[in-house]
């Protein structure tokens, strides 16, 4: 039994070595050109993700209290509450602006407080309240 195993190893051996020498021959010249030693190469992280931007920053929009159609997209159609940052996906500054402007619009009687205006109910959805970035508080 032992003899057989050894013989099989010997048979496999030379083939493997051959394969290795071929692959190293192909790679070595490129490495030798780029760096002389084994030092790590200085390159930017190839796995880094692109910088994320929120919808309003991407299209450079500053919310205004007179732009009711835009603001009502950040309002719940059921309760009229303003959706939180974990749902809207806005950055902190923009979310704060949106909230301020919505409250201004509501004070000026341009926007309802306990529901969404009926004419805006069919507007395209910017986000899905059922799938927040972070889990709901409730």
């Amino acid at each position: 039994m032992s003899f057989r195993i050894i013989s099989s190893l010997i048979q496999k051996g030379p083939i493997r070595i051959l394969a290795r020498t071929e692959s190293t021959a192909a790679i070595t010249p490129t490495i030798a050109n780029s760096a002389q030693s084994d030092e790590p190469i200085d390159i930017t992280n190839p796995f880094e993700k692109d910088r994320a931007q929120c919808i309003l920053c991407r299209s450079n929009i500053t919310p205004n209290y007179k732009n009711v159609k835009l603001l009502s997209q950040f309002q719940s159609p059921y309760t009229g509450r303003i959706y939180g940052r974990h749902i809207t996906g806005l950055c902190k500054a923009k979310q704060e602006q949106v909230e301020k402007e919505i409250i201004k619009a509501q004070n000026c009687a341009l926007m309802p407080t306990y529901h969404k205006s009926v004419e805006f109910l069919q507007d395209p959805k910017l986000f899905d309240p059922e799938r927040p970035i972070r889990p709901h508080k409730y």
Binding site: R51, A52, Q53, C54, C57, R58, T62, Y65, K66, G89, L90, C91, K92, A93, K94, Q97, K104, Q106, N107, C108, A109, L110, M111, P112, T113, Y114, S117, I133
Partner: protein
């Protein structure tokens, strides 16, 4: 003189009356040494909620905005004057300011908690608040008996 914006909701009324009311509100700005830059009419609209003022319930209103420059000391007087006007349902005076330059911080906010700056700050504060514990097998610093 800083710029302001007056958001007006006027009562539902006939056109000549509406004109006179708007003229009255505009003139009171001019009387106080202000400058009117723009008057915008947003038309007659159904109010999103009923508003009761001056002993009446309103469900329809005429929306106007007036952009004007005025001394900041006059704003309170203006608001008080408008609040006495029966034809005005609602008035809001906002200061018009250049919107601040915002750099989107969403990328930093979406990082895992350990990498977020505010979380790091919170951890630091938490560690600061922790009471110092006496280490019993150490070289005293300091609990030499009797508690």
């Amino acid at each position: 003189m800083p710029s302001y914006e007056l958001a007006l909701v006027l009562r539902q009324m006939a056109r000549p009356e509406l004109v006179s009311t708007l003229k009255r509100t505009a003139e009171s700005i001019l009387d106080k040494g202000g400058i009117i830059r723009k008057i915008e009419n947003m038309g007659q609209q159904n109010l999103p909620y009923k508003i009761s003022v001056h002993g009446q319930v309103h469900k329809v209103g005429n929306m106007f905005t007036i952009e004007f420059d005025s001394a900041p000391t006059q704003i309170d007087d203006l608001a008080e004057e408008y609040s006495r006007d029966i034809d005005i349902i609602r008035k809001n005076i906002f200061k018009v300011e250049q919107p601040p330059e915002i750099k989107c911080t969403l990328h930093e906010e979406l990082l895992p908690p350990a990498y977020r700056k505010e979380v790091q700050e919170m951890v630091r504060i938490g560690q600061k608040k922790q009471k110092k514990k006496f280490n019993y097998n150490s070289g005293l610093d300091y609990y030499p008996f009797q508690k």
